[in-house]
């Protein structure tokens, strides 16, 4: 039997997936595959784990989440809107002229966005800086960052991995959205970063490997990570690109192509079917 909380978070992830499809369908461009693969992780963070207050987005002791794989902006926007940072209707403005919802997250425009990302490989360094500042100030906030498995081909990621361990940033938890696909094809064929767990471990990180779509495993890994002392933590989340929409799952072609109106409808119908309790409202209860 799953707990009420896990059921709530699964439903929330499904709502986030529906918003992703709606937003991308309306925008006519964007990145569905890597947004859908990260929906469960992002739901767990925004509706259970992160100590945040949408009414006071800049409060100094808040937890921080950086979407380093910035092209998955729709998953972040959907979570922020559903968490109350801005009206959910605004999701329909994604990628339009004058919108606060830029193609990649812009911290200057949208409340709740902790870092402007998009040029891959930069988010972990920024997370390091935030974690260092937290230690310097004796504050107990935690910093979370989500990396893509194509993204870790960037050299800067490994500079940052080295530094996070060197400075013992145990207030930093990273997720690897290990969906196995990048624009040009399977990650293993384009430029294999494997074995990823061994690499992060060799760089001095605590490493866990989980099913990135199993809410209980996500929560368990996060709880375990927060208890690790002296090391940054990597949670390698085995995920499926395009998760939740049958015709997008594991299809490289859906990395950076938005669904056409009829495809969006089919996708929404599928997600509707997955939804256990439609019209779910309410907020997570924080950490």
């Amino acid at each position: 039997m799953e707990s009420k909380e896990i059921r709530m978070l699964r439903e929330r992830a499904n709502e986030i997936r529906k918003d992703i499809i709606r937003m991308l369908g309306s925008a006519g461009s964007g990145h569905p595959g890597g947004s859908l693969s990260a929906a469960d992780i992002v739901a767990a963070l925004y509706f259970k784990v992160l100590r945040i207050d949408p009414r006071d987005p800049r409060r100094p002791d808040r937890d921080r989440f950086i979407l380093s794989k910035g092209h998955a902006a729709p998953v972040l926007y959907a979570a922020l809107a559903q968490r109350g940072y801005f009206p959910r209707e605004e999701l329909g403005t994604l990628r339009r002229l004058g919108s606060r919802l830029q193609g990649h997250p812009d911290m200057k425009k949208l409340p709740g966005v902790e870092m402007s990302t998009g040029s891959l490989g930069q988010g972990l360094s920024v997370a390091n800086g935030m974690a260092l500042a937290g230690k310097l100030d004796g504050m107990d906030y935690r910093v979370y960052v989500l990396l893509g498995d194509g993204e870790i081909q960037e050299g800067q990621v490994w500079e940052a991995a080295m530094a996070a361990a060197h400075y013992g940033l145990d207030n930093l938890t990273a997720f690897l959205d290990h969906n196995g696909m990048q624009i040009d094809g399977p990650v293993a064929e384009v430029m294999s970063p494997e074995p990823v767990s061994d690499k992060w471990r060799a760089f001095g990180w605590d490493v866990q490997v989980i099913d990135g779509h199993d809410m209980a495993q996500i929560l368990g890994a996060l709880e375990r990570a927060s208890a690790v002392k002296g090391k940054p933590q990597m949670i390698v989340a085995e995920t499926v690109k395009g998760k939740g929409v049958s015709f997008m799952e594991n299809q490289v072609g859906w990395h950076g192509v938005a669904p056409k109106p009829e495809e969006a409808e089919r996708a929404l119908a599928e997600l509707e079917g997955l939804c256990l309790r439609p019209g779910l409202e309410g907020e997570g209860d924080g950490r």
Partner: protein, 316 residues
């Protein structure tokens, strides 16, 4: 005239002083702290100093994160690495994100000397100046460096400070006050104006003295802020003298010369001669030999002034 001080040395001392009264200041380096002089800060405030190793991209990204969490990070390495190796991090994680990061880059220009062209940044002003949101300071001496460092800490936004390796004499008198974006006339003249930046300000003063002996009175302007450019100072120099010379230890493309030409072309066209590297990389040699080779000298500037005055008289 008192002795010479490299602007990087002044930077180290200014930074240590700043750290004493501003606890938000943190400093990062990429394995060059003895050369960039951030070691002066590290000695007194070790808990606020972070060596990132030979990893400039992570240096700038980490500084961005510290800034996002309320710190005032000064990130230092050589200019060629800061603005070249980490350009995308400066562009996206700092300037585009509008974060309060100060990039203080030393060993700019050919006065790096013997290390050669791989280490001599001749394009950093151009690339930094082209980024929206960024303020660009190029101090000429110790006083301007102290002013630039203090001002950078006050500015809420990204700042690039270009510093040098070689000693430079003071160019300002006692009463000097550094005001960001405000050029300083340090010698008056009506026949031409030399607008100089960095180590070329001292050379410009010498050039003006030499020219005075020939009856050419040249104004000398220290343009310590390249961005935002003091357009008013450029235009009054153009109106009042009718002939301009720019002088910088940098390529003639895109730096101070480029900025001045952009301003006068659009607003008050007058002849402009640019002293700088003629679209070439540097090479190994003693700093003074390299300055001589590329005409970054009082006589090189004086020649340019004579040329500009000639063009003015010919009505070009």
């Amino acid at each position: 005239m008192s002795g010479k001080t490299a602007t990087r040395e002044a930077y180290g001392r200014a930074l240590a002083e700043l750290g004493g009264y501003n606890k938000r200041v943190v400093v990062l380096d990429a394995d060059l702290s003895k050369s960039t002089k951030t070691a002066d800060f590290a000695r007194v405030f070790p808990e606020r100093f972070f060596n990132m190793g030979v990893a400039e991209q992570n240096l700038i990204g980490t500084a961005a994160g510290l800034a996002a969490a309320g710190k005032i990070p000064f990130a230092s390495t050589f200019a060629v690495f800061a603005t070249g190796r980490a350009f995308d991090q400066i562009r996206n994680s700092v300037a585009y994100a509008g974060l309060n990061v100060k990039i203080a880059a030393t060993h700019a220009g050919v006065t790096v000397g013997e290390d050669g062209g791989s280490h001599q940044s001749v394009e950093d002003i151009a690339v930094m100046r082209s980024l929206p949101n960024l303020t660009v300071f190029v101090p000429a001496d110790e006083a301007e460096t102290f002013g630039a460092v203090r001002a950078a800490a006050e500015i809420d936004g990204p700042v690039y400070i270009r510093l040098g390796r070689a000693g430079v004499p003071p160019v300002h008198g006692q009463g000097f006050r550094f005001v960001p974006g405000k050029a300083v006339i340090i010698r008056e003249g009506r026949d031409a104006a030399i607008i100089a930046t960095g180590i070329m300000v001292a050379a410009a003063l010498k050039a003006a003295s030499a020219l005075a002996g020939e009856g050419i009175e040249a104004r000398v302007v220290s343009m310590h802020t390249i961005k935002p450019l003091d357009v008013e100072a450029v235009l009054s120099a153009a109106r009042e003298t009718g002939a301009l010379v720019t002088a910088e230890e940098h390529s003639v493309i895109g730096g101070l010369g480029g900025a001045v030409c952009e301003a006068v072309c659009q607003l008050y066209p007058v002849p402009v001669k640019r002293v700088g590297l003629p679209d070439v990389f540097g090479e190994s040699g003693k700093p003074e030999e390299l300055l001589e080779k590329f005409g970054l000298t009082p006589s090189g500037i004086a020649d340019a002034v004579r040329g500009a005055v000639k063009m003015k008289k010919a009505g070009i």
